[in-house]
C-alpha cells in the first residue's frame, strides 16, 4: 500500500509541480491593477454607473490519465479574449481589482486529482486617454503630363461676348 502511495505521490509531484500564471499575451493597451490608473496618480474608486464588471478564469486539472501539460496551449489566450470583449475592442480601459487563486490535491482512494485555478476579476471603465482624431490631407494632381502647365483658353479675336 505504501509502495503504491509513493508511486502516486511521485507521479503527482512530476505532473503537478508546475506553477500557473494568467496574464495577457497579445493585449497591447494598459491593463491597470488596483485603483491607481496612472504614474504618480491618486487612487480613483470606480464609478459604479460606468463600470462594467468582467472576470476570466483558467482551470487546470491533473488526473492519473491526463496531465495538464498542454493547458498553456489551450488557455493562454483566455484573458486576452476576455479583455478584448470587455473593453469593446480597446474602446474602454480594463482595471483588475481582485485575483483568486487556488491549488488542491484531491485524493479518492485509487484516483488522484490535482486542480489549480486562477480567477481574475475587474471592470472596464471609460478610457483615460483618447487618441486624438487624425486628419489626412489628400493631394490631388490634375490629370496631365508631369510639368505640363494647364493653358488658359483665350477667347478668339472675332468672338464677341454676347450680352443682352
Amino acid at each position: 500500500m505504501v509502495k503504491w502511495g509513493v508511486i502516486f505521490a511521485a507521479a503527482g509531484f512530476v505532473a503537478c509541480g508546475q506553477p500557473f500564471i494568467m496574464k495577457p499575451k497579445l493585449y497591447n493597451r494598459p491593463v491597470m491593477v488596483g485603483d491607481v490608473r496612472q504614474l504618480g496618480g491618486a487612487k480613483i474608486s470606480p464609478d459604479a454607473q460606468q463600470a462594467s464588471p468582467f472576470s476570466a478564469e483558467i482551470d487546470i486539472l491533473d488526473t492519473p490519465t491526463a496531465t495538464s501539460s498542454d493547458w498553456h496551449e489551450k488557455q493562454q489566450y483566455t484573458l486576452d479574449s476576455k479583455l478584448t470583449a470587455s473593453t469593446l475592442m480597446g474602446a474602454r480601459d480594463a482595471q483588475v481589482t481582485e485575483m483568486k487563486v487556488g491549488s488542491y490535491v484531491f485524493n479518492a482512494v485509487l484516483f488522484y486529482f490535482d486542480k489549480d485555478w486562477i480567477r481574475l476579476s475587474g471592470y472596464s471603465v471609460p478610457p483615460l486617454f483618447v487618441e486624438p482624431e487624425r486628419k489626412y490631407l489628400l493631394h490631388v494632381r490634375p490629370v496631365g503630363k508631369r510639368g505640363e502647365k494647364l493653358k488658359k483658353e483665350k477667347p478668339k479675336k472675332g468672338a464677341r461676348r454676347r450680352t443682352r
Binding site: P19, I21, K23, V36, Q38, K43, S103
Partner: protein, 145 residues
C-alpha cells in the same frame, strides 16, 4: 448506525482534499501597476519602455499561505504581501510596475500529504505559494519636437 459511521469514516479517509485558496485584493496597491508593457504616464498618455519609460529593475515578492479544513479556512491574508510589494517599489525609487503577474504554485507538501495519515483530518494544513512579479519603471520625459 455503526455501518453508517463506518461508511462516513471510509468516505472521509478515501476522499479528501488538501490545498489552499487565497483572494488577492489588489486595491491595496499604492502605485500604478499594469499587466502589460504599457502604462499610463503622469500626463495620462500611454507609455512603454523606451517611449517615456525607463526600466530600473525587477520586482518579485513571494509568500507562502496555509489553509485548514480542506482549504476552507485560509490562515492569513495577502495584505502583508501587497504591503511588501509597495515597500519594495518605494525603496527602489520606482514610480510604477509593468508586466505584472501573479504566479500560483501548490506546495510539494500537498502532493505527498495524502500518503500521510493525518492529511485525512481537517486540521492538516494545505499550502500554496503566491509570487507577484513585474518590472519597476520610472517616467522619463521626452521632448516633443
Amino acid at each position: 448506525m455503526r455501518a453508517l459511521f463506518a461508511v462516513l469514516i471510509a468516505a472521509l479517509a478515501g476522499m479528501h482534499c488538501i490545498g489552499n485558496r487565497q483572494t488577492v485584493k489588489l486595491n491595496e496597491l499604492n502605485y500604478a501597476v499594469s499587466m502589460t508593457p504599457v502604462i499610463y504616464g503622469s500626463d495620462g498618455v500611454p507609455k512603454a519602455e523606451g517611449v517615456g519609460l525607463e526600466v530600473i529593475g525587477d520586482i518579485e515578492v513571494s509568500h507562502r499561505y496555509w489553509s485548514l479544513v480542506y482549504s476552507f479556512v485560509p490562515l492569513g491574508d495577502t495584505k502583508k504581501q501587497l504591503q511588501n510589494f509597495n515597500n519594495v517599489i518605494t525603496a527602489r525609487g520606482a514610480q510604477g510596475v509593468i508586466n505584472f503577474e501573479i504566479e500560483n504554485e501548490g506546495c510539494d507538501l500537498n502532493n505527498f500529504a495524502y500518503v500521510v495519515v493525518p492529511a485525512v483530518l481537517p486540521f492538516f494544513p494545505g499550502c500554496s505559494k503566491i509570487t507577484m512579479r513585474g518590472r519597476l519603471v520610472r517616467e522619463t520625459f521626452v521632448r516633443r519636437r
